[in-house]
Amino acid sequence: MSLRAVRVGFLVAAVFALVSLAHPRSAAAVEIQRFTTSAGINVWLVEEATVPLITLNFAWHGGAAQDAPGKAGTARFLTYMMDEGAGDMNAKAYQERMEALAMRMSFNAGRDAFYGELRTLVETRDDAFEMLRLAINETRFDADAFARMRDQILTGLRDEENDPDTILARTWSEAVFANHPYGRPVEGTIDSVSAIAADDLRDYKDRTFARENLVIGVVGAIGRETLEPLIDKVFGGLPLEPELARIPDAIIPDASFLRLAELDVPQTVIQFARPGLLRDDPDFIPAYVLNHILGGGSFSSRLYDEVREKRGLAYSVYSYLYPLDHAGLFVGGLATRAERAQEAVDIVRTEIARMADDGVTEEELASAKAFLKGSYALRFDTGDKIAGQLVQIQLEDLGADYIDKRNAMIEAVTMGDLKRAARRLLGDGKVFVVAVGRPTLKTGG
């Protein structure tokens, strides 16, 4: 039961952001055309005419990190306003028109990027692109729509005030990022959202919606000749350069400590972290393989075996690499009954230290490689997913040939690489732990 307005965020599973790909055959199936439009916009296109659909994904570098101080939640607020009226249509007229065209449009704010997606049937293509043009260039910010969306956001924030996962995310962010812009919640707080005016949304949009920081991925029943003028029509009127605030690199604590938020719930939710690697770090791929063995595999990881399979301590236990533009993190989490929270945390600490000290076995490396190489194709089996990958590869600046090279990069990882990656990723095994609930936990250690 979701009490929030129906507003589908998309993508964002890309938190751990490693773009996968790579069965030789499916790589061949994803043939990317790259071109620059006359307005200077770079487009990646995969033509696929089996289904009469077009999926356009796009993103602007910027994201919630560009929210003004004291105005956390600005980017996300803007995502709510994008279909609340544009051009000469108020919210109702705009939404009825979307319905009549059977188009789907959604926006989503991440820490480093502002994402959008348009899906349309081929037969209503031109009208759907025109609707998108209006949303992006002629957003209305009518007072009543603004107030309605603000109230929905505030209600949502209020609704989550005592939600254990929300408190966990907040506490964790504060512990990890402190005063860095990443420490501000993407969705904002009741105070910060209350302080946002329509002019703040306009200002955010004017600063971040530009051509130079825009990436685009298109998949579907459309060729370059048709697409190029549509792209220029939608995005060509934007300023060339954005005015982005400079975001400093974040310093992630490398220490063992515990932060506990008490809440009277039957299950304790726990998240842990330590510094990780940036996406462009040469050791990122080895670290990715290493994490897969530790806690990345949805089953058969060391944490899964020790915490869930052998002891039944948790339904879900995981770890992942979280590379942001200005911070690299290693993150994990689990949820367990209060009286065994200490045991679960001890196992996590032990397993991290064991991997830091002893590394992995040849067999573990081989099966991790087999999984990571084999699973590439599953990220490219719908137009929706392919368009998302095209955007993510560009945001992370991995290069046009990344899809072809990626599996070879996984294959090339050696035991020596993992040893080095373990040293860099896991260090001396220190992790800091954030918990919400009523557990008995030792601080530190």
Partner: protein, 458 residues
């Protein structure tokens, strides 16, 4: 979320948007769907999608939480977890290790009406998936060493999904009072006190009763042909004996409902009041059985027009115009073996009581049912609903789920294919008539979720 997702009955709501329609060529996939039976009674459905060399392989069992013995709530879902433990020939998670070794994705889910297992792999591994899935249909081996910790896992899963979440607790309580007699009133994951008592023997006896080819449906979606699937299916599932003859799925019928029910949950975890209401209404299957098959398509459109999204009548009235509610929505859950539900939820504006909100919803529902629906509005909404069918074709996994959930709830392949025609045929008068006929508050339960004044954080 990790493995073994407990989809619960709600998940079937995606079906609404799923059957198919619009220009003929859009239906290439769905038109290409073929079905046949193996000699042992197992049904097979093939959904071709040749865009990428991958397949989605699913086995659906016509059994779910509503088929559980009394006192064993949760056994369907518990068995679903235990199915990953191994067989004589493939012990200790061999199956899952194999899936991982080829980079596949796997999971399983349980609802009130069905239990399903799936893998998504490169097409060359399909034969092995079928061999391993067929093996665990008859050769599951369970020991205390694996059953005991797994019971702890499902209890933790319950805590994650329900006990830590007042929204979920409300949902659970609302179902429990909505259904007087029908087991849809039981949570799929089970009641904690009964889950704690579930045994290895309970799981095996449930397995032996229901996990048999004549109670299963194989669905393969992806880069395959019907002939390929037929050959492989005969070599694997076709070799299985009928292990059991599961009883007819006759669940207790609901008696006449004469009372609007009310559930109130006050919790310190709740910081924002909200309201939810559910009505017992016919599903696609029960409407057809009662000879009023077109009522379900009418209910689909009724839900969209009345409260389905931001262009709906109630959203426009309560959220946009009167500002009684901050948000409001609802949907029709029509994919069920027995009756379905119509669900409405809303959050009041600051200063508005839940009583006022509820009265306003009732007033506006009545007003909607009294007024006419203009032709342009009906066409617009039909168009958007029907387009979902085309968008669904982007995902073989989604299509496989549509067919699986339909076939395990009394529907057929033809029913999925005919859905768009049914939607197209609905008239404004039929929408209103269905609404008037079924939205009877005496067949509903309403839930109030309210904050409890008490600081939970110390």
């Amino acid at each position: 979320m990790m493995r073994h997702t407990n989809v619960a009955r709600l998940a079937a709501l995606s079906l609404l948007c799923l059957a198919m329609l619009l220009p003929a060529r859009a239906f290439a996939f769905v038109k290409g769907v073929e079905t046949f039976d193996l000699a042992n009674g197992m049904q097979v459905v093939v959904i071709p999608d040749h865009r990428a060399p991958v397949v989605t392989h699913m086995v659906w069992y016509r059994v779910g939480a509503a088929d559980e013995p009394t006192g064993q709530a949760g056994i369907a879902h518990f068995l679903e977890h235990l199915m990953f433990k191994g067989t004589r020939a493939n012990p200790n998670g061999t199956f899952s290790k194999y899936v991982a070794s080829v980079g596949g994705e796997e999971n399983a889910f349980t609802s009130s009406d069905y239990t399903a297992y799936y893998q998504r792999v490169a097409k060359e591994h399909l034969a092995d998936m079928m061999r391993l899935e067929a093996d665990r249909m008859e050769n599951l081996v369970l020991t205390r060493e694996v059953v005991d910790p797994e019971r702890d896992v499902i209890i933790e899963e319950r805590k994650s999904r329900i006990d830590n979440s007042p929204d979920a607790q409300m949902s659970e309580a609302l179902s429990a009072v909505l259904w007087f007699e029908h087991p849809y009133g039981r949570p799929v994951i089970g009641w904690l006190n009964e889950m704690e008592q579930l045994t290895l023997e309970d799981a095996i006896s449930y397995y032996d009763r229901y996990y048999t080819p004549n109670n299963a449906i194989l669905i393969v979606a992806g880069d395959v042909t019907t002939d390929e699937v037929r050959t492989l299916a005969e070599q694997t599932y076709g070799k299985l004996a009928r292990r059991a003859e599961p009883p007819a799925r006759v669940r207790p019928e609901e008696p006449v409902h004469r009372t609007a029910r009310m559930v109130r949950l006050a919790s310190p975890l709740v910081t924002q009041a909200s309201l939810v209401r559910s009505y017992v209404v016919p599903s696609y299957t029960t409407a057809r059985k009662r000879g009023v098959g077109s009522d379900s398509a009418a209910l689909d459109l009724f839900a969209e027009l009345a409260f389905g999204g931001s262009t709906s009548a109630l959203y426009q009235k309560l959220v946009v115009d009167e500002k009684i509610a901050v948000s409001l929505g609802g949907y029709y859950r029509g994919t069920a073996l027995d009756d379905g539900e119509m669900m409405i939820y809303a959050t009041p504006a600051p200063g508005v009581s839940l009583e006022t909100l509820e009265a306003t919803i009732d007033r506006e529902l009545a007003a909607f049912l009294d007024a006419d629906i203009d032709a342009a509005t009906l066409e617009r909404v039909k168009r958007s609903v029907l387009a979902s069918a085309i968008y669904a074709q982007d995902s073989q996994q989604r299509l496989a789920r549509v067919f699986g959930s339909t076939l395990t709830t009394g529907g057929t392949v033809e029913d999925v294919q005919a859905w768009p025609d049914h939607i197209r045929a609905v008239t404004a008068e039929e929408v209103l008539r269905a609404g008037r006929k079924y939205l009877d508050t005496n067949r509903s339960a309403t839930g109030y979720l309210v904050p409890q004044a008490q600081a939970p954080r110390s």
